[in-house]
Amino acid sequence: MAEPGASPAAGGEASRGMPLRVDAEVVAAECEGGANHRLRLAVPGWRGFLPGQFVMLSPGALAAVPRTDPLLPRPMAIYRAPGDRGEIEILFKRHGRGTALLAAARVGQKVGLVGPLGRGFPTADPGERAVLVAGGTGIASIYELGVRIRAAGGAVQVLLGARGVDDLMGEADFVSAGLPLRIATEDGSRGERGLVTDLLEQELRGDAATRVYACGPTPMMRRAAEIARGSGAPCLVSLENPMACGFGVCLGCAAPLREGGFALVCRDGPVFDAERIEWAGLP
């Protein structure tokens, strides 16, 4: 049973470095068709990140008052950090008011940033075989993981799912990174018609040696976890619970655990062993 309201183990703290609270500057802002957007941010003092970590973004400089509506910052995965110049990329979908403001950000504008936050994915074992399955906004959480597993000599298969082709983010990046890619869309407008978890079933087929990494809508992750369990494969999921703070103080992002009690997605995750999650209790 998790300790209520407890802090993470000391080891994790040290390994991920200190998060920043800074005003980042937009150095590139693009709409990539449909609701998909990309922001490149120059982050003063940036010291790297682990795949799966995220930042909390506010549409405007932190000291800009009054900040009233929308009130809360938005959690966004760190998609990648191209070129080691203290710049990071965010790949995101325009959804409600907060992401609409982020989508309207122009080059030169400030964006309040707190992060990197969370523990990210555990470091891949050398030579590991991995299937990365992602859908919707979850695609942004797994690109860098794929790149790093491959760089560490692992074998990676990426499976991306979307409702339709307009909904799909980042395809070209996966391709140019040389990551083997299969796509499923619900309407068949790109790749195979169907659910991305159907592809996972095909890829896994009882293979217990492959590690499954999943990020996307809850039903998708839940199904991926089931499929992995059926094959005896380990499965890590990256949850996307609503967050207010992102660093473990509001206790708003609680995910119920099988063992009883809750984990904080922002502090103890967002990546969890799928077997620990009490799926029926997730929002």
Partner: protein, 320 residues
């Protein structure tokens, strides 16, 4: 209430302004605290804020035993506000004293917040906390459902509130603040009850009871149905209550509700608060409380007040 608000005074430098205040026996470096439940146990803010820039912090409310909170969803966004139904989640009094307090840097002022569902247990929690080293004072969170009154908040019934404060007052000689519920008809009456029972100060307001609906799923957004509304949306309500309470009692008041900037803090001081707590804004910007403290001193300097506490109650109301 001063009548001299419009007199303009010679400008000072921020360094010339004395920011210290006394909050019911708690000596504060400056009047800016952070609010319970929005600042964890303090250590979480290490990367973002030097805790010595602020007056102190109020820790997450503690119960005798560690407790889990409500099932998710526990938070939602609303216009200029958020709702939360975290409920009782905390590490418990003992773990707080044993593990959380020692982890804090030196020189940080800590107020321990406590709540329970029965009066005896409140008193017991107060006793254990007031002995602890580094606890500068206690804050009784009265926005908690009283089991014996059928779930009415302690802070919603003057008789129950009086019993509670009496019992806690007997259990501790530490500086004692009472945090009032805003979900009442007469905040001034509740303030007087606390003063009468020996509270050293008041903190107000706690979050306002509210409900948000998911129209597509036709459900409350929060699993708990009801939650507490906090953030800028409630600030004008909080200012009203602080003003009403400050005219009803002599004990100092700590103003809370929607503070995001030094200007907001000034408003509370003018309305009669001796200190303030920054709550929800810590989520938006984990360094904001330090900026509020600096900005408050700068405001006092710009307006020629030699001590920040000279601002308290200086709202010009034409004698009303």
């Amino acid at each position: 209430m001063g009548g001299s608000a419009v007199i303009s005074r010679p400008e000072l430098t921020p360094e010339e302004v004395d920011p210290r205040v006394d909050l019911g026996g708690i000596a504060l470096r400056n009047p800016v605290l952070t609010a319970s439940g929005t600042f964890g146990y303090g250590t979480e803010f290490g990367p973002f804020l030097d805790l010595r820039r602020i007056g102190g912090f109020v820790a997450k409310s503690l119960t005798l035993e560690p407790r889990f909170g409500n099932p998710p969803p526990r938070i939602a966004e609303a216009p200029s506000a958020m709702l939360n139904a975290i409920s009782l989640e905390n590490v418990g009094v003992d773990a707080f004293v044993r593990e959380k307090l020692p982890a804090l840097p030196e020189g940080v002022t800590v107020v321990a917040s406590l709540f329970e569902t029965e009066i005896d247990r409140y008193a017991e929690a107060a006793k254990r906390l007031s002995g602890a080293p580094r606890v500068a004072g206690l804050e009784v969170n009265a926005s908690c459902p009283h089991v014996k009154s059928g779930g009415i908040e302690f802070g919603q019934d003057p008789a129950v509130l009086a019993q509670l404060i009496r019992a806690v007052r007997r259990a501790t000689s530490a500086p004692l603040l009472v945090k009032l519920s805003p979900n009442v008809t007469h905040i001034a009456e509740m303030a007087r009850v606390c003063e009468g029972e020996g509270a050293d100060g008041l903190s107000l307001i706690n979050a306002v009871q509210a409900l948000e609906v998911d129209v597509e799923r036709r459900r409350p957004v929060l699993a708990n149905i009801l939650g507490g509304l906090s953030g800028p949306a409630i600030r004008p309500i909080a200012l009203r209550m602080v003003w009403q309470a400050s005219r009803a009692v002599e004990i100092p008041i700590c103003g809370i509700g929607g503070i995001t900037s030094a200007e907001d803090a000034v408003k509370f001081l003018l309305c009669g608060a001796s200190a303030v707590q920054v709550g929800t804004a810590n989520y938006l910007d984990p360094g904001v409380a330090g900026d509020v403290a600096d900005g408050l001193r700068a405001y006092a300097a710009r307006h020629g007040f030699p001590r920040v506490q000279d601002l308290v109650g200086q709202l010009e109301t034409g004698g009303r």
